[in-house]
C-alpha cells in the first residue's frame, strides 16, 4: 500500500472519532498515572459509560507531563469545551459522567482547565505558566493521542517523515540533519549528523542501528514517557536511521524496569508491520528493516554505548575503549549506530518540517528543545519541554511553580549521577549543552531534582556516589575502588567524623577518578561531589567542624525533640507510632524522645497533629536539653 492510502485510511478513522457526535474520554495511563491510581479510574469510567455505546468512548492515552496532577482525565465533547480534570478518583467519576457526558455541566470546579474552548469561563491550560514557557515538540502527542492506535499517530502527521525519507538519498538526509544542528540527547551532545555520516560511510554489508532506551539516571523518566505515550515517533526515527546508514536490523534496548513501555512498544511494532511501515519492502519500496526489543537486566552502565553492545552480544556490560567507535566496529564487529530515544524522535520532525524549523528553536549551538523530568521539592513535578536557552529559573519557578509549601530554594541537581548540583546564584544559567558544562553540571539525561532547605547537599552527594559505586561495572580500578573510598569519606562527613583534611582528600580523589576511568560514567561520577564541594563548602564545613547538619537530614547529627510547651498530654499519637518504643511520657504526661532508643525514622514528626506541631529536629544533637534525653531509671524499690 502506498503511504498516501495509509494516510487516508488513518485520517478517516481519526475523523470518525473526533468529528462525530461521540464524546471522547481520555485517561492518562502511563506509569506515573498508574502510580496515582488511574487504572481504577479507567475501570470506573468504563462502568459508568456502559450502555452509552455510540455516545461516549474511552481511550487510554499516555502522559501529558503533569505528573503531580495525576490521575488526569480529559473529556472531549464535540461542539463544546474539552475539559481536563485532575486528581480524579473512582468516587468522582459518576459525577463527571452524569455532569458532562450525560448532561451539560462541565464540572469546572473539578477541572484543571480546558484544553480547547472555554473562553472566560475556565482556565485555558496552554496559557498556564506551567505550559506557557514550554515548546512541546517531542511531547506534542503525549497525553492526547492514544499510543495504542497507530492511526492516531499517522493522522497527526506521523510516518510522513519516513515516507519522504524513502524518496531521498542517505547523503541528503545527513545534510538535512547537519543543517538542523541536532545534537545527541543522550547527555554528551555529540552532533548527530557526524555520527550518522561516520556509520553511513563505513563500508559493510551488515550494519545495525540501536535505540538507547536504557534510561539509567535514577531521577529521569522522559524516555519512559515518550515510549509509553508516543512509541511510533521513536520507531519512525529508528527506521529512518536504518535507511540512512544502510542497516537492515534495529534494536531498541529498554530497561526491564519499564514493563509498560515494553508492552506498548511491542504493540506499536506489530501495528507498524501490519501497515507495511516496517518489515520487508517498506511501503512497497526497496528498503527492508526489522526491529527487535532487547530488555536490559538492571545495570546502569548498559546505557554506555559500548557496554550496551556487549549486553546485546550476551556478555557483561563492560565499556570498551573507543576508538574504534561503534560507527566503525560495533555490534558483532559491524558498523553500528547508537542513538538516544529523544534524538531519534526528533528525526522524523526534522525531515518533515525542515532543518531551518529545528535550527530556529533554541540557541545557535544547541538548537531544538530540552526535555526535563522535574522532580523533588517543586509544586509542579512532571515533564517539561523547553526551548534550549531557557533559564533554570524559568524551569524551577515558572514551570515548576516554585518550591513546595513555600519552602526556600537551595540547589538544583541537574544531569543525574553524572551531573552537578547548582546553587541559587547560577539559576540564570541558560539551559544548553555548553553553559551547563561550564557550570560543572551536564545536560546528561535531563533529570532535574530541586532541593529545598530541608535537603542536605552532602547527603545528596553521598547518595549519588553510593549509586555510582554500586553501579560501577568494575572494569577500571579508579572507578571501582575510588568510588568506594569517595563514598566512605562522604559517609564519614555525614556522620560528623571527618575533618577539613577529608574535604581535601575528597577533592583530590575525585579528580583522580575522573582521570583514571575509561567511560563517561566513571569520569563524571564525581561531578555531584565536586560541584557540591565547590558551591556548598560551608555546609560540608559545618558537618565536620560543628557536627551540625544545617538541613537536619544526616541522622547521626540530628535528633528528634518534642517541644514540651507545644506537646499535649492527652495525645498519644507519637507514642503509638514509634516503632522503637522510644517515646515516653514525663511525670506531667508530656512526651519525650529517648535519644538512645530513637532510630530517627521520623514517624513521630509525621503523626504529630498539626494543631500541636510539637516534634522538631535539632542539629547538632547536643541542642537537646540534658534532662530530656533519656528515660530516667526508675529507682529499684528496697524490699
Amino acid at each position: 500500500m502506498t503511504f498516501r492510502k495509509i494516510d487516508l485510511v488513518s485520517r478517516q478513522n481519526w475523523q470518525s472519532l473526533y468529528n462525530g457526535e461521540i464524546i471522547h474520554i481520555l485517561v492518562g495511563t502511563a506509569t506515573c498515572g498508574r502510580a496515582a491510581g488511574s487504572m481504577a479510574v479507567l475501570e470506573a469510567i468504563r462502568r459508568e459509560i456502559a450502555g452509552l455505546e455510540g455516545k461516549a468512548r474511552v481511550s487510554e492515552v499516555g502522559c501529558m507531563g503533569l505528573c503531580s496532577y495525576e490521575p488526569l482525565v480529559v473529556i472531549v465533547k464535540p461542539g463544546d469545551f474539552s475539559v481536563c480534570y485532575h486528581h480524579v478518583t473512582p468516587l468522582i467519576v459518576p459525577q463527571l459522567v452524569e455532569g458532562y457526558v450525560k448532561g451539560d455541566d462541565p464540572c469546572l470546579d473539578l477541572a484543571l482547565g480546558t484544553v480547547a474552548g472555554g473562553g472566560d469561563e475556565a482556565v485555558y491550560i496552554p496559557e498556564l505558566d506551567l505550559f506557557k514557557h514550554q515548546a512541546r515538540v517531542l511531547l506534542r502527542n503525549c497525553g492526547y493521542n492514544s499510543p495504542l492506535e497507530i492511526d492516531h499517530y499517522i493522522a497527526c502527521g506521523g510516518y510522513r517523515g519516513l515516507s519522504s525519507t524513502l524518496e531521498m538519498k542517505p547523503a541528503q538526509i545527513i545534510r538535512k540533519l547537519e543543517k538542523s544542528g541536532l545534537r545527541g540527547r543522550g547527555g554528551a551532545g555529540f552532533p548527530t549528523a557526524t555520527k550518522w555520516a561516520a556509520c553511513s560511510q563505513t563500508k559493510g554489508k551488515t550494519k545495525y542501528v540501536i535505540c538507547n532506551a536504557d534510561e539509567g539516571d535514577p531521577g529521569a523518566f522522559m524516555d519512559r514517557v515518550l515510549l509509553e505515550s508516543d512509541p511510533h515517533a521513536v520507531i519512525e526515527g529508528l527506521i529512518i536511521a536504518g535507511y540512512t546508514v544502510g542497516a537492515g536490523q534495529g534494536y531498541i534496548y529498554v530497561r526491564e524496569e519499564y514493563p509498560l513501555a515494553i508492552e506498548r512498544l511491542e504493540m506499536a511494532l506489530k501495528q507498524a508491520k501490519e501497515k507495511g511501515l516496517l518489515g520487508r519492502k517498506i511501503l512497497g519500496l526497496g528498503f527492508s528493516f526489522k526491529i527487535e526489543i532487547i530488555k536490559g537486566a538492571g545495570a546502569f552502565v548498559s546505557g554506555e554505548e559500548t557496554a550496551m553492545i556487549a549486553a546485546i552480544e550476551g556478555r557483561r556490560s563492560w565499556p570498551e575503549h573507543r576508538p574504534p567507535y561503534p560507527a566503525e566496529a560495533g555490534l558483532w564487529g559491524k558498523p553500528t549506530l547508537v542513538n538516544n530515544v529523544k534524538t531519534l524522535a526528533y528525526v522524523p520532525l526534522i525531515i518533515q518540517n525542515g532543518s531551518d524549523w529545528f535550527a530556529g528553536i533554541g540557541t545557535g549551538n544547541s538548537p531544538g528543545t530540552a526535555l526535563f523530568a522535574l522532580a523533588g521539592k517543586l509544586e509542579n513535578t512532571g515533564l517539561a519541554e523547553v526551548p534550549m536557552g531557557t533559564s533554570l529559573r524559568t524551569l524551577v519557578y515558572d514551570i515548576g511553580g516554585g518550591i513546595k509549601k513555600g519552602g526556600r530554594f537551595k540547589a538544583v541537581q541537574i544531569g543525574g549521577p553524572s551531573g552537578g548540583c547548582l546553587p541559587e546564584g547560577l539559576l540564570d544559567t541558560p539551559i544548553d549543552f555548553d553553559s551547563l558544562k561550564g557550570a560543572g553540571a551536564i545536560m546528561g539525561s535531563g533529570g532535574v531534582i530541586v532541593m529545598d532547605e530541608d535537603n542536605c547537599v552532602v547527603d545528596t552527594a553521598r547518595f549519588f556516589i553510593d549509586f555510582s559505586r554500586q553501579e560501577s561495572c568494575g572494569k577500571c580500578t579508579h572507578c571501582r575502588i575510588g568510588a568506594h573510598h569517595l563514598f566512605s569519606i562522604l559517609d564519614d562527613v555525614t556522620k560528623g567524623k571527618g575533618s577539613l583534611k577529608s574535604l581535601e582528600a575528597l577533592q583530590a580523589l575525585a579528580e583522580d577518578i575522573r582521570e583514571g576511568s575509561l567511560c563517561g560514567l566513571g569520569k563524571m561520577a564525581t561531578n555531584p561531589a565536586l560541584t557540591t564541594l565547590r558551591y556548598f563548602r560551608a555546609e560540608y564545613e559545618s558537618h565536620v567542624l560543628e557536627q551540625r547538619c544545617p538541613a537536619r537530614v544526616c541522622k547521626e547529627l540530628t535528633a528528634y525533640y518534642i517541644l514540651p510547651d507545644k506537646c499535649y498530654k492527652g495525645c498519644d499519637h507519637c507514642v503509638l507510632a514509634c516503632p522503637a518504643e522510644a517515646v515516653f511520657s514525663d511525670e506531667q504526661g508530656l512526651k519525650v524522645v529517648d535519644q538512645v532508643k530513637c532510630t530517627k525514622c521520623g514517624s513521630c514528626e509525621l503523626v504529630c497533629p498539626a494543631e500541636y506541631n510539637a516534634v522538631i529536629r535539632l542539629s547538632p544533637v547536643s541542642l537537646v536539653p540534658e534532662n530530656r534525653r533519656t528515660k530516667p531509671q526508675t529507682p529499684v524499690k528496697e524490699p
Binding site: T31, C32, R34, A35, A36, C67, S68, E70, E215, D217, P218, G219, A220, F221, R224, V225, E256, E257, Y258, P259, I294, K295, A297, G298, A299, F300, A311, I312, E313, G314, R315, R316, S317, A373, L374, A375, G376, K377, T381, G382, Q413, G416, G447, I449, M451, N455, T460, F463, F464, F467, E471, C473, A577, P579, T599, C601, G602, S603, L606, V607
Partner: protein
C-alpha cells in the same frame, strides 16, 4: 521444573548471544535463577558455568535465591531519596522483619530496592507485584501490606 526450562531452552536454540534474555525467561518462570536450571543451561548451550554465573551476578535484576510470592520494590531513585524513600524502606524492613534483598521465611514477600522506576513525580514509590503505590509515608506501609498478607 523440567518442562518450563526445556521450552525456554528450545526457544533460543544455540544462540549464545541471547543469554540475558534466557536468564530473564528463567527468572520469569521460577521467580529466581535455580542452580539446576543454570547448570542445565550451561550444558545444553555449551556456555561455561563460570560465564553463566558471571552474567547472573552482574545484572541487578537476577536473583540466585528463592524469592517470595510478592516482590516489594522500594524506589530509591534520586527523587524518592529527597522525599524520604529510605525511611519507607526502613519501615518495610521493620514490618516484614527482613532486610533489603531478603525474603520472609513464609516465602510471601521479598523486599528489594530499585534505582528508579520512572515515576519520580509521585515519589516515594513502592511497587508490589504489578501495583504501584505513590506518595508513600510511613503510616501507609502497614495498610498497603495488609492486602497481600492474606
Amino acid at each position: 521444573m523440567k518442562d518450563g526450562l526445556s521450552v525456554i531452552l528450545k526457544k533460543y536454540g544455540k544462540d549464545k548471544s541471547q543469554l540475558v534474555s534466557i536468564l530473564q525467561d528463567i527468572q520469569a518462570e521460577y521467580n529466581y535463577l535455580p542452580r539446576e536450571a543454570l547448570e542445565k543451561l550451561s550444558k545444553k548451550m555449551d556456555i561455561p558455568q563460570s560465564h553463566v554465573y558471571s552474567m547472573a551476578t552482574f545484572f541487578r535484576a537476577f536473583s540466585l535465591n528463592k524469592r517470595g510470592k510478592h516482590i516489594v520494590n522500594v524506589c530509591l531513585g534520586t527523587a524518592c531519596h529527597v522525599r524520604g524513600g529510605e525511611l519507607i524502606l526502613e519501615s518495610l524492613e521493620r514490618q516484614l522483619g527482613v532486610g533489603r534483598g531478603q525474603t520472609t521465611p513464609d516465602l510471601k514477600f521479598t523486599l528489594e530496592s530499585v534505582n528508579c522506576m520512572g515515576c519520580c513525580a509521585t515519589g516515594p514509590v513502592v511497587k508490589i507485584g504489578e501495583e504501584y503505590f505513590g506518595h508513600m509515608t510511613n503510616d501507609k506501609v502497614e495498610p498497603m501490606l495488609k492486602k497481600y498478607r492474606e
